[in-house]
């Protein structure tokens, strides 16, 4: 069921793009851009909900509640929920689009793995996923998996003469672009806002661990997937920029963030 509904359409779409361009690397880039555009309404909803939640933290009522019930966590949570209801904001509204995107991301990942087909069993599965009325499998195979210095089916390493090891350039780019895409949507602390240590800690954790996690995936998985991650990040950064609320100033870490005068970055 999962194969028929999610993976097979993705594989056919990716291979259809491949049949037009003749290179799997280029096809992955175009495929990623196309799928991100298809998911754009969901992404926009997520960004807007997230921004609404960020605006809420500057709301006087919200700040008063934080101060008033700072020693009573249960009551604080209850009052916060009441405020969310009153203002028509749902803390989960920005999570739902993420949740919906999950199966799509997993499906994309599996489609890419199967499309690269580096073993007979993978190739057998790939051929069975191709719609015969849509694409001619035998004319497409073998796929041209070479893109720049990379093979989309292999782990990416750039070998430079004189160096005894390969540089995982794509993994490095994945870490950098993931860091930027998470940082630019994190608003700087509001002046006078109560220090919500747990929340700030969580944000910082996410900003550090997510790029590292994505970088580790790109380091260990095939370069086709790493290319997908990089393209996704770049498209995501562009989408955030279009919404007009990005904090470019966050990209460079401040040495002492607690004492920094809050300039809301270069808000676009």
């Amino acid at each position: 069921m999962w194969d028929k509904i999610i993976i097979a359409p993705f594989i056919n779409f990716l291979l259809w793009i491949y049949s037009l361009v003749g290179n799997l690397g280029v096809a992955i880039i175009l495929f990623t851009v196309a799928t991100r555009l298809l998911l754009y309404p969901l992404t926009m909803k997520q960004i807007k909900s997230s921004q609404a939640m960020q605006e809420l933290t500057k709301n006087k009522k919200y700040l008063d509640i934080q101060e008033k019930y700072k020693n009573d966590k249960e009551r604080l949570a209850q009052e916060q929920m009441n405020l969310y209801k009153e203002l028509g904001v749902s803390p989960f509204a920005s999570c739902l689009p993420t949740l919906i995107q999950f199966p799509i991301i997993i499906g994309l990942y599996q489609a890419l793995i199967q499309t690269v087909a580096s073993s007979p069993l993978d190739l057998l599965k790939l051929i069975r996923h191709i719609y015969p009325f849509f694409l001619n499998a035998s004319s497409l195979i073998p796929l041209n998996t070479k893109f720049l210095w990379m093979d989309m089916g292999q782990v990416e390493r750039l070998y430079i003469p004189g160096l005894s090891f390969g540089i995982p350039t794509l993994a490095i780019v994945v870490v950098i672009t993931t860091y930027i895409s998470t940082k630019i949507i994190t608003p700087p602390p509001t002046p006078g806002a109560p220090a919500n240590d747990q929340s700030a800690m969580m944000t910082n954790m996410m900003n550090i661990y997510m790029p590292l996690l994505m970088g580790w995936l790109a380091w260990t998985l095939s370069s086709g997937l790493a290319l997908y991650f990089v393209t996704t990040n770049l498209v995501q950064i562009a989408q955030y920029a279009i919404t007009g609320k990005v904090y470019w100033g966050n990209i460079i870490p401040k040495i002492n963030s607690a004492s920094t005068t809050n300039k809301p970055g270069k808000k676009k």
Partner: protein
């Protein structure tokens, strides 16, 4: 706000776990293994290791490597060359093992792709085709003699008539290459990827090969010209089997096509109903095939067929017969390797729980 962040962090971790669990190694490779046999021993790949088993009992005599690693995969059947067992892994390392103890004798690390099927052993060379698009000719000490480059993956084992090797490639071409120096003799476009070895006729004049372009083709070995083509209903993953003057070819639609070797005309299609991926073998007066449903099917010359055994898992690997014993390697089955007699009765089996 706090709840949302916790949710996002947990989601990211879950996504990471899901993505990595889909892939135990760099390329998420998974495939079917291979088996080969001599009079006394059987050699089998079991994904992360190679095993030598006694042919009469199935008892393990040695395993390689001593410590299996999930990142080092073996799917190509090990092949015997004198007192060595030659096997390639999915990281591009070709290894020679001592036939008696499985100790490493030498390695060749010149390839950068998978070794998908076993190398060809000739009188003085090891011809190792690799998915990096090269064929490497080595002597029996592992020294490189020559390299042939096609640029696209070679999966299937080439065949040779003693002077020329015939190598099928995924790029749709069948390459004829001089065994002495690796120079191209001719190449023929068969319009579909070639994932199985060709069959060389006894007089070395004709090659029979199937392709993923749903065709079975007879090729003249002198110049690569096509003698005849038979168009099947689905892709051909296996090598044709020649029994007297008839070819038995399994296809992915679940049919065994019986063709006249002389002109490629269809004698009879035999519907076994489950895809045939591995190459069959002649055993007594029948041609035996394994199918995707786990059935071992015996097909007679007149097209009558009978299921002689049903095993758990898929039978994708090439069947091997030796000393009236049929060796069946299963994929995703409870038993890795099963030895059957010609009636389909089990003689012994090796499973991962076997000692």
């Amino acid at each position: 706000m706090k709840n949302k962040k916790i949710f996002v962090v947990i989601s990211i971790l879950l996504l990471g776990i899901m993505l990595t669990s889909c892939s135990s190694n760099a390329t998420a490779t998974n495939s079917w293994g291979g088996v080969s046999a001599t009079e006394t021993d059987v050699y089998v790949t079991n994904a992360t290791s190679i095993l030598s088993l006694k042919a009469d009992s199935g008892n393990v005599t040695w395993t390689y490597p001593e410590k299996a690693a999930a990142t080092r995969l073996f799917y190509a059947a090990p092949v015997v060359a004198g007192d060595q067992v030659i096997v390639g892994d999915y990281k591009g390392l070709l290894v020679s093992l001592g036939i008696r103890d499985g100790k490493e004798l030498w390695t060749f690390d010149g390839a950068k792709g998978h070794y998908v099927y076993s190398p060809l052993i000739t009188t003085d060379k090891i011809i190792a085709q690799n998915a990096d698009g090269h064929i490497y000719a080595l002597d029996f000490s592992g020294n490189l003699q020559w390299t042939f480059t096609a640029g696209n993956p070679f999966w299937a084992t080439p065949v040779t008539d003693g002077t020329t090797i015939y190598a099928p490639c995924l790029d749709h071409f069948l390459y004829a290459i001089s065994l002495a120096d690796g120079k191209l003799v001719w190449k023929t476009d068969l319009t579909g990827s070639l994932v199985a070895s060709p069959l060389l006729s006894a007089d070395n004049s004709t090659l029979y090969i199937g392709s993923l372009d749903k065709s079975v083709v007879a090729i003249n070995t002198t110049d690569g010209s096509i003698g005849w083509t038979y168009k099947a209903d689905s892709g051909i993953w296996s090598t044709p089997v020649l029994a007297e003057d008839q070819l038995f070819v399994g296809d992915e639609s679940g049919k065994v096509l019986i063709l006249k070797a002389a002109d490629g005309s269809l004698v009879k299609p035999v519907d076994v109903k489950s895809p045939i991926i591995g190459t069959g073998v002649i055993m007594k007066d029948s041609v035996i095939f394994g199918d995707e449903a786990g059935e071992v099917v015996s097909v007679k010359k007149d097209g009558s067929h009978v299921i002689i055994s049903t095993l758990s898992g898929n039978l994708y690997s090439n069947l091997v017969v030796n000393n009236d014993q049929l060796y069946v390697h299963t994929t995703s089955g409870t038993k890795v390797l099963v030895a059957l007699n010609s009636d389909g009765n089990e003689i012994w089996n090796y499973s991962t729980s076997s000692k």
